[in-house]
């Protein structure tokens, strides 16, 4: 297992190093699909320059990173390329040493042995990740914090899990929704049943919540003391929530708010933001026995519906697809959906060129591809969800369904 992994890591590092030195690096760094206003490297450099001049980095409307990131890069600015290359590599492979609570009749231990390698392969050699890395987008840092968080949760350490979740929430607001799956997983690990009347349930929940909130408060106060001002809160969280920058990206927000009248924009901002957080409740009810899958779906929902998504976020949840490779036989539309996603990824730069450089198209064309891409992602997640539910049904009711009169039955989702 170690040798193929080392090979994969070497290949990934070579690809990234080769791209760094080529002329494509500048081109990729400017692509709107890869660098958003939240995580573009240009903006980090601008913030650092302002900091060096003694001005608050948040005084313009350019810089939207958190203070910890500024100080991290303050020390690492010369080694920026190395930082981005090695950020995420080691972590994902640790992911999967958990024992799933599924019957062995459908998934064998032999298949599971290769899953960490496949996850590493999916993440490291994913073109989305490579582009994100070459563009030096700080998305890689967000992804690695989330990966640490998942690792800590799986290993069962509530304290570390809470700390990393607090860091992830502090970086970009949306991982707040990962609180529910993490809590459910830790409860399951402690064998505490989820009954509303149970005292141990509330005790553990309170413990975890207080750990999380305390670490969050500590980190925010630390940021305050680093820069001696509360400026970063409106600049980072206000920016994420109120979506003032409408540069086109692969998300759904920019076109709507570019076309909307001022009068309604507050209402629609609230609606769009609630959309990200809202799915936690029904998913928690339906998937309370399966917190890992819940975590995966939640990650995907964050990547699709967040205010400034980039391909780095998509790469994060796609890296977890090999974990669910046993669901492959129940997927219905995987071919069409993967074709849609691949075609849209190639059409993004083509339509951008037609819009901005050739002038033959306009924003509608680019948004059409954005919409198609997001529909493809949503259908992919719902397909996996359906496959998961179907497998659960088969596990409890057997693989060959028969009706009362003995003829073969088919499972249909109504």
């Amino acid at each position: 297992m170690a040798a193929p992994l080392v090979l994969v890591v070497l290949a990934a590092v070579t690809v990234r190093a080769a791209l760094y030195r080529s002329s494509l690096a500048v081109f990729i760094a400017e692509r709107v699909e890869v660098a958003s206003p939240l995580n573009a490297w240009k903006r980090v450099v601008e913030g650092l320059a302002l900091l060096d001049l003694g001005v608050s980095p948040y005084s313009g409307a350019i810089f939207h990173e958190t203070p910890l990131i500024i100080y991290l890069f303050h020390f690492l600015i010369e080694y920026a390329e190395l930082v981005f290359m090695f950020k995420k590599q080691k972590l994902l492979i640790e992911l999967d040493k958990y024992a799933p609570d599924v019957a062995e009749l459908i998934q064998t231990p032999m298949e599971m042995h290769y899953i960490p390698l496949k996850v590493a392969l999916f993440y490291l050699l994913n073109p989305y990740t490579v582009m994100s890395c070459v563009a030096k987008s700080t998305c890689a840092i967000n992804n690695s914090v989330i990966a640490f968080f998942i690792l800590a949760t799986i290993k069962g350490s509530a304290f570390l899990s809470a700390v990393f979740l607090a860091l992830a929430t502090y970086q970009s607001l949306y991982p707040l929704t990962l609180f529910a799956p993490a809590l459910l997983y830790l409860l399951q690990r402690q064998f505490i049943p989820i009954k509303l009347k149970s005292k141990s349930f509330w005790l553990y929940t309170m413990q975890y919540t207080s750990l999380y909130l305390c670490s969050l408060v500590v980190i925010i106060c630390l940021s305050f003391f680093l820069l001696n001002s509360w400026d970063f809160i409106p600049s980072v969280y206000g920016f994420i929530l109120s979506v003032p920058d409408l540069t086109p990206n692969i998300g759904l927000f920019w076109y709507f708010f570019a076309e909307m009248f001022e009068h309604f924009s507050l209402f629609f901002v609230c609606v769009f933001q609630i959309n990200v957080f809202f799915y936690t409740i029904p998913l928690a009810i339906k998937l309370k026995e399966h917190p890992m899958f819940f975590m995966f779906v939640q990650l995907a929902i964050i990547s699709i519906f967040k205010s400034y998504p980039t391909v780095g976020d998509i790469a994060l949840y796609m890296a977890f697809l090999p974990v669910w490779s046993h669901l492959y036989r129940f997927l219905r539309n995987i071919f069409i959906l993967s074709c849609v996603l691949i075609f849209c990824s190639f059409l993004f730069p083509v339509l951008w060129h037609l819009w901005i450089y050739a002038g033959s198209a306009n924003s509608n064309f680019y948004y059409a591809i954005t919409l198609t891409f997001n529909i493809g992602q949503i259908l992919l997640i719902s397909d996996y969800f359906y496959a998961f539910l179907r497998r659960e049904y088969y596990l409890t009711h057997g693989l060959h369904l028969t009706r009362q009169d003995g003829t073969e039955a088919m499972l249909v989702l109504k």
Partner: protein, 609 residues
């Protein structure tokens, strides 16, 4: 719940797809071809969309004929004396006319000698004069371009340019600056000027700091004349990489020609008679075919072609002196140009109301993208049907075998890696080696550099075709599923390439689709390979280019023999390679890195063991 999720519906559709696949594919392909052939019948008339250019009501007062001819004679004499562009005489004359004169020297070493224009180390000077708008802030500009030595001589055009400049200097209504540009070494000079003006470095052109600017150029006209009198004015629209100017500019030109009684033509032919008729349809189809071939080649139809990528709408006007009775003098052309510039002067924003993507069956009719896109869409449908069929067969065979052991499943995918890597590598070699390896080639073969490059290109191309035979040892294994998966990947890659091309350069996408879709759908190993191999060889991109050269000569009513066609083909290869380096064209990378690897994958599928 829906088409995609209702199992009964899915099974029914799946069965339909598997049973009727070949008839559906053939029907789709033939419909695509038929749609394209019927396009001239569906073309509506052109109309001016931009409000600001609505009517042609301007009062042209110029009579530039005699003045233009006198200046033309002067220019011709000085040019003959100096052997190139007479920079000092031009600067002096423009200064006398009241323009702000600048000159831009440029130099470029071509990657390999250009046989068509016989040049290798190019050094030249562009001269341009700016007429500042008397009442505006130099925010916008219009441009008149005359290549100084086009076709050996273009002196009448320079004379007309100078006469027009003198006339315009006396008018007070100009709201945009007028730039009068005389370039040397035609396309190279224009490229150097544009790069310098916009401050970009797209190609390795060396020129000093740019002397002086006017505003952002809104529109440009290029002029080429070869005689003192003309019978008609021909217009060229295709730009670099098949980009086209806004249709409104063409409509403007046409309306002013009608106003001044000037005869305007497209591709040198008069418009076909109105109303449905056999000869009319044949001529429209011929014009359409020539435009598609020209656009697919990606070569600019004139110096205007280089402006389009900077979002400057531009046209090239060529004066033709044929055997007609009625001749026009330069004054009529001068009035047309004056009218056009006055109308462009009235524009409030860049031309954007009319179509950017269209095809012209004749000068007065156009086919918009909404009309011609289904032709390529039907061709892509063939690829989609085949890909779906392959996928269903692959997933059915997987279910049939039950769960394959882990090693085999992954091994199944590993067998695909050599063909894909080899095809990609061959494409990369085809793209990089000919120009970079020309030193090696000239050492080993007794040919000039240009021929060495072209022959190296052909050599690598043919060598790529020999690869499956020499690497079949690495490819053995994989079996039935192996070649089906490889064919699926090849189909998807081809579909992706054609989809991107449909948006960027429809003509190239359509031609590649027409030639590559039938073999892509039909290819399979096993059985009698000879007819399929023949089909694949006949539709390879290189041979398609050769056929395109033959077809173009045929459509131009100057059919070429095989020998002449071969020479033209070699010339086209050389020009294609040069254009990528000189102007940043995308045809060469697209064919080498996109179409050729797709074709090689299909070739690998055919020779699968």
């Amino acid at each position: 719940m829906g088409l995609l999720s209702d199992p009964q519906c899915r099974r029914a559709l799946g069965r339909l797809l598997l049973r009727l696949n070949t008839p559906l594919c053939v029907l789709s392909y033939l419909s695509g071809l038929a749609w394209f052939l019927l396009l001239p019948l569906l073309a509506p008339r052109t109309y001016l969309s931009e409000n600001a250019m609505g009517s042609t009501m301007v009062g042209e007062g110029s009579d530039l004929g005699p003045r233009a001819l006198a200046l033309a004679r002067d220019f011709g004499e000085h040019r003959r004396r100096e052997g190139g562009i007479p920079v000092s005489w031009l600067s002096h004359t423009m200064f006398q006319l009241g323009l702000e004169v600048h000159s831009q020297p440029f130099a470029r070493t071509l990657p390999f000698p250009d046989e068509a224009h016989e040049r290798y180390l190019v050094r030249g000077t562009n001269v341009f004069g700016v007429l500042r708008a008397p009442r505006a802030a130099s925010t916008e500009a219009l441009l008149l371009l005359v290549p100084c030595c086009e076709g050996g001589k273009n002196e009448q055009a320079v004379g007309l340019l100078l006469a027009l400049a003198g006339y315009c200097r006396g008018q007070i209504y100009w709201a945009k600056d007028l730039i009068f540009l005389v370039t040397e070494h035609d396309l190279l000079g224009t490229q150097a000027w544009l790069e310098g003006y916009h401050g970009v470095n797209l190609t390795a052109m060396q020129s000093g700091p740019f002397p002086g600017r006017a505003g952002a150029i809104q529109a440009a006209l290029a002029l080429e004349l070869s005689s003192d009198v003309l019978t008609s004015v021909d217009v060229a629209v295709e730009g670099l990489d098949g980009q086209l100017p806004n249709l409104d500019l063409l409509n403007l030109f046409q309306s002013f020609c009608h106003k001044n009684g000037l005869l305007c033509t497209l591709q040198g032919k008069l418009p076909p008679p109105e109303g449905p008729s056999g000869p009319g349809y044949a001529q429209s189809l011929r014009t359409l075919g020539l435009m598609v071939l020209g656009q697919a080649g990606g070569a600019p139809g004139g110096p205007h072609g280089l402006f389009l990528r900077f979002r400057i709408e531009a046209l090239t006007l060529r004066g033709i002196n044929s055997f007609r009775q009625h001749k026009f003098d330069l004054g009529a052309l001068g009035r047309t140009l004056e009218g056009m510039f006055r109308k462009l002067n009235n524009l409030l924003e860049r031309l954007h109301q009319s179509y950017f993507l269209y095809l012209l069956p004749s000068l007065a009719r156009f086919v918009s993208i909404g009309s011609y896109a289904p032709a390529l869409g039907l061709l892509l449908l063939v690829l989609a049907l085949r890909a779906l069929e392959l996928w269903m067969r692959l997933s059915r065979s997987e279910e049939g075998e039950g769960e394959p052991p882990v090693g085999e499943a992954r091994g199944g995918l590993l067998y695909l890696v050599p063909p894909i890597l080899i095809s990609g590598g061959a494409g990369a070699a085809l793209y990089l080696l000919p120009v970079r390896g020309q030193a090696v080639a000239t050492q080993h073969f007794p040919v000039g550099e240009a021929e060495a490059v072209v022959l190296a290109l052909i050599g690598i191309y043919v060598a790529g075709m020999a690869l499956p035979h020499s690497t079949h040892r690495a490819l053995s294994g994989g079996g039935q599923r192996g070649w089906m998966t490889l064919k699926l990947l090849a189909l998807l890659a081809l579909a992706l390439l054609l989809t991107c091309l449909a948006l960027l350069n429809f003509s190239l996408g359509f031609l590649l689709g027409v030639t590559l879709v039938p073999p892509a759908a039909a290819v399979r190993p096993g059985g009698n390979r000879l007819p399929l191999a023949l089909l694949l060889v006949l539709t390879t991109p290189g041979l398609s280019l050769f056929m395109a050269v033959l077809l173009e000569r045929e459509l131009l009513e100057a059919p070429a023999g095989l020998g002449e066609a071969w020479q033209r083909f070699l010339g086209a290869l050389g020009q294609g390679l040069l254009q990528e380096h000189l102007h940043g064209a995308h045809l060469s990378p697209l064919l080498c890195l996109g179409a050729y690897p797709c074709w090689l994958l299909l070739w690998n599928v055919l020779f699968w063991k």
